[in-house]
């Protein structure tokens, strides 16, 4: 299992046949140039006070890639980033940079720069001096520094801010200064630790686009840490989903969304109905008292599985035409669609539909074969996927920005 997970390619190969034709190609296939491994983590484990934070992490990061470490608070993503930055060293395992072991290399000798969670701009320096900091340490000549700082300020849309006091900048501006301060050193890799966590939603969306553009312009490898799945999906070439100190899945955003490997990933990325089922034979699965056609194969006969059905993939039809029937228990208007909770034999499904249905109405559900994704049973089975306790409030709680984690 672990070995499979460690290989980015294998997973994306599995996903290939099911990708919609208009989907962007995964990072592994994009471009004709062969990507080179820039950073490699081998069997990394780390514990604090006997508590395991990272458990045998295997991961490689390609040159010029935008890779995101995604997971809930305390999953080990920040620790992984700090190990790459040199602020922590692994208890077990090795980290390689361009094929060279760098376990014991201090941060100031690594070709890596970091954008810290709360920016950590030097309060005693103005915008110009903050950005020039790294170059001055590297003893670059002042006239060259001037040229490069000006260039950087332009890149992050802060031209004319040279003399400003960093303490008086808005969150978004501080963010840009932090990015400029890191990028000006032309690092091989830029580490970003929840860089947009402190910004409001609108600004966050803008900065996502900007970051993506900057990455494309500079061609620097970005390693991005976030707990926001939407952010991860929209920005990354590769997403690494982590939980409990372990890598759950590595793949392109599309792979991760369409082909989650287990109930944790399915639940964490987007909304999912996860239902206990039995794989009767190839392309035939039974759950919720009905036998469905599906596109998955390679399971044992009558193997217990988890079936994932995304809320937007279910068609609402009249009760007599449905494969399944259920009673609508709640309807919430979400702008683009309605989010309805449907009770089917006691299991609550979430369904997103653009047609209004009334609460307590009995409706039919129709599920296409390609809307069903089958996953092997895992330690996360039966923990997620039922919306019986679902409420918007709960959803908002989990959206609250994470504080610094170890």
């Amino acid at each position: 299992m672990k070995k499979e997970l460690a290989q980015n390619q294998e997973l994306s190969e599995v996903a290939e046949n099911e990708q919609p034709p208009d989907a962007p190609a995964s990072n592994n296939e994009k471009g004709s140039k062969k990507r080179t491994k820039l950073i490699e983590l081998k069997n990394i484990s780390k514990a604090y006070d006997g508590e395991t934070v990272l458990d045998e992490i295997n991961l490689y990061i390609n040159d010029k890639e935008f890779i995101t470490l995604l997971g809930p608070s305390g999953c080990g993503k920040t620790t992984t980033l700090r190990i790459i930055g040199g602020f922590e060293s692994p208890d077990i395992g090795d980290i390689f940079f361009n094929g060279k072991r760098i376990n014991d290399l201090p941060p100031h000798k690594r070709q890596v720069n970091t954008v810290f969670q709360k920016y950590a701009l030097f309060p005693h320096l103005n915008v110009y001096d903050n950005i020039a900091f790294g170059l001055r340490i590297a003893k670059v000549k002042e006239d060259e520094i001037k040229v490069r700082v000006t260039e950087m300020l332009k890149l992050v849309n802060l031209s004319g801010f040279e003399k400003r006091n960093v303490n008086l900048l808005s969150g978004g501006q501080q963010q840009r200064v932090a990015i400029a301060r890191a990028l000006i050193n032309k690092p091989k890799v830029l580490l970003l630790d929840e860089p947009l966590g402190a910004l409001d939603l609108k600004l966050r969306k803008d900065m996502q686009v900007e970051l993506k553009n900057i990455q494309a312009q500079t061609g620097i490898t970005f390693i991005y840490v976030t707990h926001d799945q939407e952010e991860a999906l929209s920005m990354s070439d590769t997403v690494v989903v982590m939980a409990n100190g372990k890598i759950q899945q590595i793949g392109t955003p599309i792979d991760i969304y369409n082909e989650p490997v287990n109930a944790f990933v399915a639940d964490f990325i987007g909304e999912s109905n996860i239902i206990d089922g039995v794989m009767l034979e190839d392309f035939k699965v039974r759950f919720a008292g009905h036998t469905f056609e599906c596109l998955d194969k390679g399971f044992e006969k009558n193997e217990q599985i988890d079936a994932v059905i995304r809320p937007e993939d279910v068609d609402v039809v009249s009760a007599d035409k449905g494969m399944l029937t259920g009673v609508v228990s709640s309807v919430t208007f979400k702008g683009v669609h309605y989010e309805i909770i449907v009770d089917i034999d006691g299991f609550k499904w979430m369904i997103q539909t653009t047609d209004y249905v009334a609460p307590d109405e009995t409706i039919g559900l129709y599920i296409e074969p390609d809307a069903i994704h089958i996953m092997k049973k895992s330690e996360y089975s039966d923990m997620f996927g039922d919306y019986s306790s679902f409420s918007d409030e709960m959803d908002h709680l989990s959206d609250i920005v994470e504080e610094d984690e170890v």
Binding site: F87, P107, N113, A120, P123, F133, I137, R181, A182
Partner: protein
Amino acid sequence: MKHRSLFYKFAGSPYLVWSIMFIIAPLIFVVYFAFTDRNGSFTLENITSLSSYSETFVMSLGFSLIATTICLLIGYPLAYCMSRTSERTRNILVVLLMLPMWISLLIRTYSLMALLDNGGLVSTFLTKLGFQKLTFIGTDAAVILGMIYDFLPYMVLPIYTSLTKLDKRYLEAASDLGCNGVQVLGKVILPLTVPGIISGVTMVFVPSISTFYISQKLGGGSFDLIGDTIERQFQNSVTYHTGAAISLVMMILILISLAIMNKFSDNEGDMIV
């Protein structure tokens, strides 16, 4: 609500009464005495006559500057080391540092005197080791040592506080941007702890420039710092007016130097004093 606001209105009044009686009124007396002669009529003579004390002023300034500098040189590294230890060790070290402050300054100075006196512990020990008989009391070094000994904790504590308050992320950011250990110290830690340094310098400089008992006890009576001069003037009712004038000028000098130092702290507003 009304009741509460009334309470808050008067909560500060005991201190107000106190400060009027013991701070403001005496200050007015000082000013009054400084500008009057024995008959109570206005004169500038007290101030103009101070030129004869300029040497004392300069010497006091020199002594306190040396003491402050040495305190800073000892205090900063000490505070830095303390701030780097584990929380447990750190608390023990802070208690150890504060311990002498629980004893009266006067008693500490007396005990230092006993140690340094001819026939005191230190000279006995040194003569036993074969050194020639050494005299400490009455030397410049003894007075400066006394100042350092008495006031060092006041240098260490504010610096220590600003070091422990320093966000670790700044240090990580600096080393991320290419600083080695020494550069992190020079480019980030030192500049960010300037407010602590200013507080410490103030808290050592002000008491050492105005001290009189340290120079009296450890100077063996041969020292005349500005504090001693003021004390002497007030022991004799005839020279009250000169004493008041010296006090006034010294207060103004201290205020000016505080203002200059505050300028250095760059409005970061972390002043502890």
